[in-house]
Symmetry: C2
Subunit: 558 residues, 2 copies
């Protein structure tokens, strides 16, 4: 690790700020949360969580504690990278050592598969030091394996048993924390001493519920993207000749796109959840973009910026229908679509015309040839169309281009259209975490250590009131199964922590909705600039705007 840059070294020495109550965490003991009661689970869930279903929501209070046991903790980074993961690990380590100097921390490698395969490294101060407050998940690696089969559960149990772990901390998103809930139940059934604790991670911001205001990583990623978007918008305005079509990472929810819109004021931001609600079809979505470009051209503005959430395509009703139909047709055409694949190119479309509904066929015809080809041929191992491989920003450009050229022929559009695609993605997942994410993650790590110290099995570390300064943050530990609901996935009911989508009645969207008309034709572009780690605290420590707006509403409700 001799490759740290000067700024990285400085960040390793950053002292995260904690909620006041955590300043004396060695003297905290669990107590029932005074106001919040666990919900009574529905019968189907009770059956899945016989042992952990009735755990209460717990907070902590200060009491003299004589001494603390030695703790042996395992930790794993699960799923996509999010800035702050290393800080959680550093805090876990520091707290475990504070509880008892002989405490130990091991890290499982490359995600949950490391637990199953017992692939791990022992973490000590020397190993952790250069990763303090660094981006990436490269201390341990990450992975997307789920622990699902009985064999995997048993292997995981054998691993934690072999290490005699007091606790296993799973740093992950909705899927990983669903997994954590089942693991906690399994360990309880095995009468294992190992308790399981979840930490809410994901830049997408979709792990959010009554108990979780925000997952870590969202703040940093949204700021990295907003820096770039702000720059692109100013560039668009300066050269006055490009339209930037900017796709924002986020598997399904549009939280990141919405936050970036609030930060930078592009001319148009599509919100997937709104499109689904309005039941806008692809034709209408493209029309909306083309109309903006047309109206701006009338004002002499042939430039601008448009934000597109990565997950949008699956929210557009007719496209969704098309994909569903294609999946059925291509799978059913004799043994996995081979009959279809064997058809001569020119026969494929007429074959599909006979099989698809008229709406879906129309939708398919809108696409450029390459995308049609990709939809029909690139399929995943289960035979499904690979929607995620479609580069939406480029697809939209080509559809808008076509619409504008039609309008040009009709004399409706006279502008010049030079589009530039951009994808705000991977560069935000592994960035140096902001002060906010460092403070948040360090607090989450300490809270996780407390959860293990007090043997609270199957709990999620939750920190709230995040819109206020760190000292005002509140801590809470909530049973993971409290966050689980039955969800219909492709016709089957599955018990999962649901992804939280953008709520169109919540302040972040309402505030966007109120302002967006102004942003269309006028250039109200904002440049948040690069993330600052020192200097003015109003800038360096500022939480996401979505969080501030949610908080304003809560304050009003009080």
């Amino acid at each position: 690790m001799s490759n740290l840059t000067s700024l990285q070294w400085i960040r390793t020495e950053y002292q995260p700020r904690l909620p006041s109550i955590l300043n004396a965490y060695l003297s905290l003991v669990p107590k029932l949360h005074p106001q919040l009661q666990s919900r009574e689970l529905e019968a189907s869930l009770k059956a899945l969580f016989p042992l952990t279903q009735s755990a209460p929501i717990i907070t902590f209070e200060k009491k003299p504690v004589q001494d603390h046991p030695k703790l042996k903790i395992g930790v794993v980074l699960s799923g996509g990278q999010a800035p702050g993961g290393h800080t959680v690990i550093a805090a876990l380590f520091d707290a475990a050592k504070q509880f008892h100097p002989d405490s130990e921390l091991i890290g499982f490698k490359n995600g949950p598969s490391g637990i199953v395969k017992n692939a791990f490294i022992r973490l000590d101060n020397e190993k952790i030091a250069p990763f303090r407050n660094q981006g990436g998940f490269d201390l341990l690696g990450s992975g997307r394996t789920k622990i699902e089969t009985p064999e995997q559960f048993e292997a995981a149990y054998q691993t934690v048993k072999s290490h005699d772990l007091d606790g296993l901390v799973i740093i992950g998103g909705d899927d990983s924390n669903t997994n954590a809930a089942f693991l906690a139940e399994y360990f309880a059934k095995k009468e294992s001493k190992t308790i399981v604790c979840g930490v809410p991670k994901t830049i997408d911001g979709d792990l959010k519920n009554d108990f979780i205001e925000l997952s870590f990583g969202f703040d940093t990623a949204s700021k990295v993207y907003s820096e770039i978007i702000g720059n692109l918008l100013i560039d668009a305005k300066s050269s006055a000749k490009y339209y930037f079509f900017i796709k924002i990472m986020g598997r399904s929810a549009s939280h990141l796109a919405l936050e970036c819109a609030l930060q930078t004021h592009p001319n148009l931001t599509l919100i997937s959840e709104e499109i689904a609600k309005k039941n806008q079809n692809l034709h209408e979505v493209i029309e909306e973009i083309a109309l903006l470009i047309c109206q701006r051209a009338e004002e002499g503005k042939n430039y601008g910026g448009i934000l597109i959430p990565e997950g949008i395509i699956e929210f557009i009703p007719d496209f969704k229908m098309l994909v569903n139909e294609l999946n059925l047709i291509l799978k059913s055409a004799t043994s996995g679509g081979e009959e279809f694949a064997a058809l001569a190119e020119q026969l494929k479309l007429s074959y599909l015309k006979s099989k698809l509904t008229a709406n879906s066929f129309d939708c398919l015809l809108q696409f450029p040839a390459e995308v049609q080809k990709q939809l029909l041929l690139d399929r995943d191992p289960h035979g499904n169309v690979q929607v995620s491989k479609i580069e939406t920003e480029r697809l939209f450009i080509s559809l808008v281009e076509k619409r504008l050229s039609d309008w040009r022929k009709e004399g409706k559009y006279k502008g010049a259209f030079s589009p530039q695609p951009f994808f705000c993605g991977y560069e935000g997942r592994s960035a140096l975490p902001t002060n906010f994410d460092c403070n948040y993650c360090y607090s989450l790590g300490i809270l996780s250590a407390l959860i293990i110290r007090w043997k609270l099995n199957g709990y999620m570390a939750c920190i709230n009131n995040l819109a206020e300064s760190a000292s005002e943050w509140e801590i809470l530990t909530v049973p993971l199964c409290q966050m689980i609901h039955q969800e219909n996935r492709e016709g089957k009911w599955k018990a999962v922590i649901q992804k939280s989508l953008v709520n169109l009645n919540d302040p972040p969207f309402l505030s966007f909705d109120q302002e967006r008309e102004e942003w269309r034709l006028k250039d109200h572009y904002c440049t948040p600039g690069p993330i600052q780690f020192s200097g003015n605290e109003q800038i360096a420590d500022k939480p996401p705007l979505s969080l501030l707006y949610m908080n304003e509403m809560k304050q009003l409700q009080k």
Copy 2:
């Protein structure tokens, strides 16, 4: 301008640091530079610059000056955006007002065409204040019009005459400053009172010569890109499954790619100038990338990062030859390639086979169908192939994919290849300028005002010793025609300021060359992180590494 973010407001108040000698710029008077003599221009250039050819290189010395005249100055932003342009304008304004409170500054709109058309705005403190130290060129807009025809020269003259300008400051790159030299000569011929002064701008870093160490904007752009690249590399290492093919903006020279490589240590960085020197053909370049991927796969590493300079394709000898031949063939095929265009698709290739040299035809065959099509059909108004529209990062991915799949069949490659294209481009051109660029640009602006105050026509503002702290910087004003040479462009001699390419014998490349072997298989990735404006000065004020390495050499030579 009510949309400034908190960070932008803070930046408007940033106090740029000046070279010591400029602290008392009101008491500076010109003197001949003690060591540097102007070169004697060759006869062909003398003929172009009869009036300005013999101007001396000038510096300044402190002497009591009684008082200063009122100055009326025009300023224009020319060509692509570069961070710092607004700071030059602010400094010009401040200095003009210091010379005389009744001085005036007007800004020509949308580049040199604003001079020709006399489109301008009057700049006052209120207008300038929110743009101090901001990115973009949106205060005035920019443009790429060149002033070339006799009518344009005359119109420009009429414009400066109508405003009774003492000076015209042209903030631009090599082309714009070549233009400035001719404009200075033209104004001199007209016995105009307006002197012309150039300011070296371009993120590409290719406006560099014996008198200019670095153009402004390069520092900020390279840092914006390095932040992103550092993040992508850490992301690659963390998820261990992607290869990022990162194209770096820069019309022809590879300075930006080289600086970013020094900052971030990707596994492979292609340097166009080296490829040209080694006479590597496209096949070999692709082989070099594929080999890296193959070797890393053998070590279990199916991830990495590869930097590709935007201009690379025109440096690859066989591709360059192909483009030249295509241009000739497609232009000559009866009146502008119509004969060719009229050929049926399947006949086009055999037509070309009969016309192209074997080498060029082989080169063409390597490309995927879309790129072939683009090469043959997308032509600019002069009938030339539009090389700049080729997305090199995507082209290289598809060529490497093909090579790896061949090797896989031969059993030579067993890895997994998931490539991700990325383009570091527009987001760096309009970013908030670094402290370095703010200090540099403010100094350039003041020096420009001095040049005008002392009526030094046809001079470039040059500030050097930039690797040292700002107080140590040295100022110099050099006749623009001293930088002009005859260059053969498509068979015609043209008097231009030459683009400076990466010199393979200079310390930045040598240092890269020494280290790059280490970076190939090991992951020596560096994360410079986001630009910091305050805090540790070693970080916030650090100049580009290329500059530091050049300076080390100069120190040794002394």
